[in-house]
Symmetry: C2
Subunit: 154 residues, 2 copies
DNA sequence: ATATATTCGTTGCGTATGCAACATAATAAT
DNA sequence: ATTATTATGTTGCATACGCAACGAATATAT
């Protein structure tokens, strides 16, 4: 059996190459952020002032990961942790000026990377590809996320 | 703009969920290995006694990553580094008995994970999905790997 | 033959991630 | 009201990865 010829290999490779390509662009344009940090920030650009727990759910990682990412982003002056009076357990995460200014540059890198991915694809192929990816993800979500749920409620 | 609605998000999510699902199975069946280690081992099961450099190319990671993974796999008794007389720079990596015995268990986990991914897909859809993934990867490979090449030959 | 370049594996530093264990705070149960 | 449960963020330990720098070994150039 050869893993090279499985669907799993192709999925893994594509995702890996995409993040590497995006990291390359983000670095070349001196954005100062990584592709993973982009994933987190994209939620804050839409709406900031949210808790780390919510961010964790949005990006599909655990709270510990968000803690560490926010610490880094805070150190480089992109976000700030603001304590909350009504619920003293949580931090609300806000973008700084610098963090807000990053949005167009980062999005430009993402758009270019995605254009490269779909080079030579026609509109229907892109739509089809997207549907197949979503269906595949939806097949996995219940199984993988059941673990998370049971853990949260344990 | 919302990253959630981009192709990039769907690619990243699927790959992430797949590796998480595979890790879950590999752990439940007490394989003792991770999905990343599987990726490396799948090459050795096909043919062992190869150099770390070759393994790095096969799995698409750098030499440093392979060094670290092999160290771990050696510690848990799955592979061994054997010095080479004809070229004293290299280590040849061989599977141990334990490493060889792992193959069927690990493959079973991979097959089950992949079945789950394509649940509800007909044969044509699977083939199409595979083709789209390959085309997308092929779009990125030259760009991403050119960096590696120029770095290797620097 | 000797100097230069290249290859291979390793290590340091930084980032990303999971899981488990904790402390603190808020909520539910009694 | 007090106790038990749950939620939130943090930290420790383990794995994975890139890049850069390094030493040792090999190959190439002159």
């Amino acid at each position: 059996m050869q893993f090279d010829k499985t669907l799993g290999k192709h999925i893994t490779s594509l995702s890996y190459l995409l993040s590497k390509q995006l990291n390359k662009l983000l670095s070349e344009r001196n954005s100062g952020i990584t592709s993973d940090q982009f994933r987190l920030l994209s939620n804050l650009w839409r709406k900031d002032g949210i808790t780390q727990q919510k961010l964790a759910i949005y990006i599909g990682r655990d709270r510990a990961s968000v803690t560490r990412m926010i610490t880094i982003l805070e150190d480089i002056g992109i976000v700030t942790r603001i304590a909350n009076n009504t619920d003293k357990r949580v931090n609300l995460i806000y973008l700084t000026k610098k963090g807000r200014e990053l949005e167009p540059i980062a999005w430009q890198c993402v758009q270019e990377s995605l254009s490269l991915v779909t080079k030579g694809f026609n509109t229907e192929e892109i739509a089809l590809f997207e549907q197949l990816l979503i269906r595949a993800s939806d097949n996995l979500k219940p199984v993988v996320c059941s673990t998370i749920k049971s853990k949260l409620s344990k």
